[in-house]
Symmetry: C2
């Protein structure tokens, strides 16, 4: 079978690509071809696999090729991120709305009703004051009221995918990923960036600031759980999915202070001490507008669960990214 991952060189896309290549099959069928479409080339270990084909460039320009390729399955992860879309409205409309629309029309034009998993986001939820406060508990039927252009574009894409699915043009499934932590790499300026940074930076021996109060609750998922959710959503039958509406996912809910306590338990007092409290009212405002508690019954019925603990997330990060861990961080282990 032939699979496309849009955003296939990104953080989640790369992990998904590696997971699919390692499995070799998806929904019981062998993966003969894995096309990674992205603005950037994937990592060498991925592009070296003979099943992998790389398509570098803007996705919007690649949609004609998508028609011709007749994919059996698509993971649509490509997206401008939240902060980018707030800073550049036109970029978000083009990358997240126009591109999704063009991709859906191309998949319809291919005529083989491929399966599609869309990486939506918990950013579809928010407060719409004074009408709606931040939901104290997000459930499958909670009304999304996005408070960013990014969240709006994700919700709009979900709805288009549901309608294309109803019409039989494709077989779409949308999963709302939560903030993924721990992300490797450099700080990216996103408001959620510190939820990775306060672990990644001190582990690398770098001092960093925590911009919110320690009792702030947050909802997280590990990269592994994110990839698991995408694959499970792909392999679920329509009956298992139980409706065309987007799936929320189980969250690990904890306070930011508990994240730092977990860091201390895993990596030691000295590592944790590299995180200083430096409240930033702007970021506190944004983070407090995110719901922290999720009851994801439909996803749980698919066998998807939350991460067991933040310690396990940190340990997996250290195992996956030994290059990102200063020698001193291991001292406590």
């Amino acid at each position: 079978m032939k699979i496309l991952i849009t955003g296939g060189a990104g953080f989640v896309g790369s992990r998904l690509a590696r997971a699919l290549l390692a499995r070799g099959t998806l929904d019981g069928h062998g993966i003969e071809r894995l096309v990674l479409a992205d603005q950037f080339a994937p990592a060498d270990d991925i592009s070296a696999d003979r099943r992998v084909q790389v398509a570098v460039g803007p996705l919007l320009g690649q949609c004609d090729d998508v028609v011709g390729a007749r994919f059996d399955g698509v993971f649509h992860l490509a997206s401008a991120v939240s902060a980018e879309c707030e800073a550049d409205f036109d970029l978000g409309m083009r990358s997240n709305l126009e591109t999704t629309r063009a991709l859906l029309l191309a998949l319809r034009a291919a005529g083989n009703s491929p399966r599609l998993v869309f990486a939506s986001s918990g950013a579809v939820f928010g407060a719409d004051p004074p009408f709606l406060p931040v939901p104290s508990l997000v459930e499958d039927h909670t009304l999304p009221t996005p408070q960013t252009s990014y969240g709006t574009q994700k919700l709009v894409s979900e709805q288009l995918i549901a309608d294309f699915t109803r019409k039989g043009f494709l077989d779409g499934r949308a999963v709302r990923l939560l903030t993924v932590s721990v992300r490797p790499g450099r700080p990216n300026g996103a408001a959620s960036g510190f939820l990775s940074g306060i672990v990644r930076e001190p582990l690398a021996g770098i001092a960093c600031a925590c911009p919110v109060a320690l009792d702030t609750p947050v909802a997280l998922m590990s990269p592994t759980r994110a990839v698991d959710a995408l694959i499970r959503a792909y392999e679920a039958s329509r009956a298992e999915l139980g409706g065309r509406s987007a799936l929320i996912l189980p969250a690990l809910t904890l306070r930011v202070g508990e994240m730092l306590e977990a860091l201390e338990r895993v990596a030691g007092k000295a590592v944790r001490a590299r995180v200083r409290l430096e409240p930033d009212a702007r970021i506190e405002g944004i983070v407090s507008s995110w719901p922290a508690h999720f009851r994801a019954e439909r996803a749980q019925r698919l066998g998807l669960g939350a991460d067991a603990s933040f310690e396990s997330i940190i340990e997996a990060y250290i195992a996956d990214h030994p290059e990102g861990v200063a020698r001193s961080a291991g001292a406590a282990r």
Copy 2:
């Protein structure tokens, strides 16, 4: 001030135009110019008003002119209808999604952050089995799960308007109109058509079929209430609106049999006898997927109410459309 009505020659658009011309003001400002954009020309009594300017043609092609015109206010009613969008998917995507997007971008490009009222629809609601049944009661926070392309496109437009509003590009308000009854004119083949037809046709002396069981509950609003809601949504302050989410509206909920009883009380036994029961499983299926009960608290706080009775709706129809009433229909009055 300068006002644009898209779909300004349609049934609701024409009534809105007449109402605005009769008032002469909107939100306390005199209406100097009323532009009616539509595929068709408006009725002569409307186009004869020296404040009216007519723009006939596809709205998508008129968006450049919208930029130049710098409207103070816009009522965006233009839309392909539900049945058309199901029969011709591309038409719906173009007329209801591309056109709304182009209009919003044109209004943003004009740079004066105009006020905009969008005629959305109760068709955003539906069942998504087995996840969600048809909502037994629709409230302001009920999750929309559209089951038609039309409903999807309306919901998507609502979300884009909310985000354009959040960004300050315009000041948007979306109201979800219910099935409007009694519509004049010929049967249009829409699944909801009989909700006007079973009054209009017998009043005109024409026999007609009622395709659903008499105990089927339906949610209706009169053309007058629809126009009232659009104007009130325009004139409401942001504080009164209480959030950017779309407004549901108060419904007159009654059973189809009660509609016929009202018809008999207003127009006599002989008129009612022109309606024969002829159940149509396809239409019964569609109509039973529409929610019938609404609790529209936000709209009620704006002073909007449901019609008092179906009799009053029929009486208003007869008064407004004497040409559509056969002489015999008056016999019982």
